[in-house]
Amino acid sequence: MNNLQFRILYREFLFRMVDLELLSPQGDITKLLGQFAGLLIWISSGLLLGALFFDARRIPPNALMTVLWSQEHFLIATTMLVVGLFAVLSWESTFLNRRDVLVLAPLPIRARTMFLAKVASVATALSLTVVSLHTLAGVAWPVLVFSPANSGLLGMIRSLAAYWVTMLSAGAFIFCSVLGVQGLAAQLPRRLFLRLSAVLQMAAFCLVVSVYFLQPSLATPRALAAAQNQHALAWLPSYWFLGLFQALNGSMHPAMAPLARRACLGLALAIVGAGAAFLLSYFRTLRKIVEEPDIVAGVRGVNWLPRFGNSLETAVVQFSIRTLLRSRQHRVILAFYLGIGFALVSLLWKNGGPRRQADIPSIVSPIFSSIVMMTAWVVGTRVVFAMPLDLRANWMFRVTSVHRTPEYLAAIRRPLFVLSVGPVWLVSAAVFLSAWPWRPAVEHLVILGLWGTILAYVSLYGFHKIPFTCSYLPGKSKVNLMFIAAAGLLQAIGFGIASELRALHDPARYAELVVILGIAAVCCWWRTVALARAEESVVLFEEEESPAILGLGLFRDGALPTEAAAAPNPPAY
C-alpha cells in the first residue's frame, strides 16, 4: 500500500463525511465539523454537571448501587444513540460514490488502499464522535463517581480505562451493526440495493431512536435477575455494555456476568460480520457503481401531483414535494426531528399514559401527541427547506424569476403548509373524529390548526428562500441556543395543553383560548406577510450576501495584480 496515497485519500474521505455541496461557497467545512463537535462537547458539559453535583452521601446505601447502575446505563445508552445517529447520517458516505470511482478508478491506486482509507476515515470519525461526547464527562464520571469506594488512585485509573473501553466498544458495536446491515443489503442487485437502502436507513434511524426512549428500566439487581426480563435483556445491547463496564471496573454483580459475556460476543460478531459484509460489498460496489444510475428510474404514476394554487405556487410546492420524497439526506434530517417528537410522545405514553396513572385524564396523551407531532413536523420541515439540493441548478429559478418578490414569498410559504401543517392536521382529524365524540374532537382540531398556523408563520418569518435552493452557511445558527429555544417551546406546549384541558370543559374558556390563538395567528401572518412585502425583500439563493464594498485587490502601487497573482476564477453562479 502506498502511504502517501493512503494519507491523501484518508484526509479527503474524512472531510467528506458531510455533503460539501450543501455548503455556501463562503462556507467552511471545518467550521461545520467544529459546530458538530461543539454540540457534542456542549452535551458533554451537561453530563459533566451531573457528575459534579452527584453526592453519594445523600443516597441511602441500599439504593446507591441502583442509582449508579442507572447513571452508567444512561451514559452507555446515550453514547449508542449518538453513534447510531452518526452511523445513519453518514450512511451515504460509507461507500465510495460514483464521482469517487470515476475520479479514482483511472488512477494507479489499489482498491485495497481506497478501502483502507475509507475504513480509517470512518473509524476516525466514529472515535471523534465518542471522544467529543465524553470530553468532559468521560473523566468526571469514572474518576469521581464510578470508581469503587476506597480503591485509591489505581481504582480511579481502572475505572477511567473501563469507562472509555466500554463507551468505544458500545459505539463500535452499534456502528458495526449498522454497517453490517448495509453491507449485507449491498450484496443484492445494485438497483434493488439502492431502493432498499433508503428504507433500511430510515428503519435503522427509527430503531435507534425508539430503543433509546422506549427501553424499560432494568438497572436493578432484582430486575436483572428476574426470569421475565431475560428475553428483553437479550435484545437490549445497552445493558450488555453495562455488564461489560461492571466487569472491567471490578465492581461486577453476579447478575451482570451473562450480560458482559453477551457484550463481548456481540461486539466480536458485529465487527467480524460488518468487516466481512463491508469487504465483500465494497469490491462489488466498485465494479457496479459506474454501470448503474444512483437514482432508480421514475414511473409515470408518481409523476402526477395536483395543482396548489397559481402556477408559481404549484411549481414551488411540487418541486418541494418531489425533492423531499426523492432526496434521502433531506428525509433523514426530517426523520431526526420527527424522531424527537416521537420520542417525547413515547415517553408520555410509557410513563404517564392513561393506563398507568388513573389521575391523568385519558385525553392528555392524544392532545399532547398531536401538538408535539405538529411542532416536530413543522420545525423539521422548515429546517430541511433550508438545506439545498443540486445547488448549482438553482440558476433556473433565477432566470425564470418573472414574478414580483411578494408573489415568490407567498409561494414559498405554501409548501410548509402542504408538507407539514396539512398532513398532521388531516391525520389528527381522522384519528380524533374516529376515537372521540365529535364536539371535543372538533374543538381540539381547531386549536391544533391554529397552533400549526402560528408555528408555520413564526418559522417562516424572514425565510426568503425557495425550499432546497439556497446555499447553507454553517455556523450561522447557534445550535446551543436552539436547544434552549426548544426547551422554551416545550414549556409553551405544556402550558398550552394545560390551558386547552381547562378550556375543553368550559365553553367560555374555550372561546377565550380560540380568540387568543386566532389573534396570535393573524398577527404572525401579518408580520410575515408585511416583511415579505417590504420593498427591500428579495428571494435569496445565497446565504452570505455579497459585500457592500468590493475589494479591488490592488497592490500597494495602485496597480491591479498581474495574471500570476490574480485571484481565482469568479464564482460560477
Binding site: S311, R322, D390, F397, V399, V402
Partner: protein, 260 residues
C-alpha cells in the same frame, strides 16, 4: 420586414471581481434576424458577459439595453422575453425531463395546456419522449443539453442566449440545432451564442464579436473581417486576434516535458 427595436445592446459593460477585471468596457449590439457569434478563449469573459445579460450576475458598470430600454428598469419583463442555455448543464437531477420542463413552464407562468403541448412536442422532436419519465440523473450530457434547449425555447423568447449550445450533442442533433438557430433568426429572434467550434460559428453566424482578456478585439461580419485581415477562415482570424501562444511550440514543449 423585421423591427430593429428588439436589439440587444451592451454599452461599456464592465465586471470586476476582487483582484481581476473579467469584462472590460465591452460594447456591442445584436440585432433581430441576425446570429451573433460571441467568441473568445477560455477565461476571456464570455460566460461572465452572458450571465450579466441574463441578469444572473450584476455588472460593475455600464448598461445593457433590450428593446431600447435598460434591462434593469424592468428585469421581470425582460426575463419573460429571454431564453438562456448555460455553459454547464446544471439541472435538478432528481426530477424527470418532463417534470423539469413542466416546472419551468409553471415558473414562467405559461398557460397549462399550451405549455403541456409544447413540452410534449419539444420532447418528441429532441428524441427525449421515450425517457421523459426517467430522472435527469440518468441522462447523458447530450440529453441534458436538449432539456436545457427545450427549457430555453418553451416560452418563445425574443432573445435567445446560447452559451456553448453544441456541447455534448451528437452530430444529428447538432445539425438540427444549427438549422434551428438559423430558422429562429429568420423568424426575427435576436440570437447571441458563444462557442469554441469556430467552423460552426463560421457557418451559422452573420456577425462575430471576439473577446480577449475581457476586451473586444473584433466586432464585425465574418465576410468583412476576412477581407480586412486578408485571412481565409474564421479560425485564422481568431488565432491572429485572440491566441497569443505559439501552438506548435507549446506542443513540442509538452511532448518534450513528458519525455515522449
Amino acid at each position: 420586414m423585421v423591427s430593429l427595436n428588439f436589439m440587444l445592446e451592451l454599452r461599456n459593460v464592465t465586471k470586476r471581481f476582487p483582484g481581476t477585471i473579467a469584462v472590460d468596457n465591452v460594447s456591442f449590439s445584436a440585432h433581430p434576424g441576425e446570429i451573433t457569434g460571441y467568441l473568445g478563449p477560455n477565461g476571456s469573459g464570455k460566460s461572465t458577459t452572458m450571465k450579466m445579460i441574463t441578469g444572473l450576475i450584476e455588472m460593475s458598470s455600464g448598461e445593457i439595453l433590450f428593446d431600447g430600454v435598460p434591462i434593469r428598469n424592468d428585469l421581470l419583463a425582460y426575463k419573460r422575453r429571454m431564453g438562456y442555455v448555460p455553459e454547464e448543464p446544471y439541472l435538478y437531477t432528481h426530477l424527470s425531463g418532463l417534470e423539469y420542463l413542466a416546472m419551468v413552464s409553471q415558473l414562467r407562468g405559461l398557460p397549462a395546456k399550451p405549455a403541456a403541448n409544447c413540452i410534449n412536442g419539444l420532447l418528441r422532436l429532441f428524441s427525449l419522449h421515450g425517457d421523459r419519465h426517467s430522472p435527469i440523473s440518468n441522462y447523458s450530457k447530450g440529453m441534458r443539453q436538449k432539456v436545457l434547449l427545450s427549457a430555453a425555447l418553451l416560452h418563445n423568447p425574443d432573445l435567445i442566449l446560447l452559451d456553448e449550445p453544441f456541447s455534448g450533442l451528437d452530430v444529428g442533433t447538432a445539425l438540427v440545432l444549427r438549422s434551428l438557430i438559423q430558422e429562429l433568426a429568420a423568424r426575427g429572434k435576436v440570437v447571441l451564442f458563444s462557442s469554441h467550434e469556430l467552423e460552426t460559428v463560421e457557418r451559422v453566424s452573420s456577425r462575430v464579436v471576439i473577446l480577449h482578456r475581457g476586451k473586444i478585439v473584433a466586432d464585425d461580419s465574418i465576410e468583412h473581417l476576412r477581407t480586412l485581415m486578408a485571412l481565409p477562415t474564421l479560425e485564422d482570424i481568431f488565432s491572429q486576434l485572440a491566441v497569443e501562444q505559439d501552438t506548435a511550440g507549446i506542443s513540442r514543449e509538452i511532448a518534450d516535458l513528458i519525455g515522449a
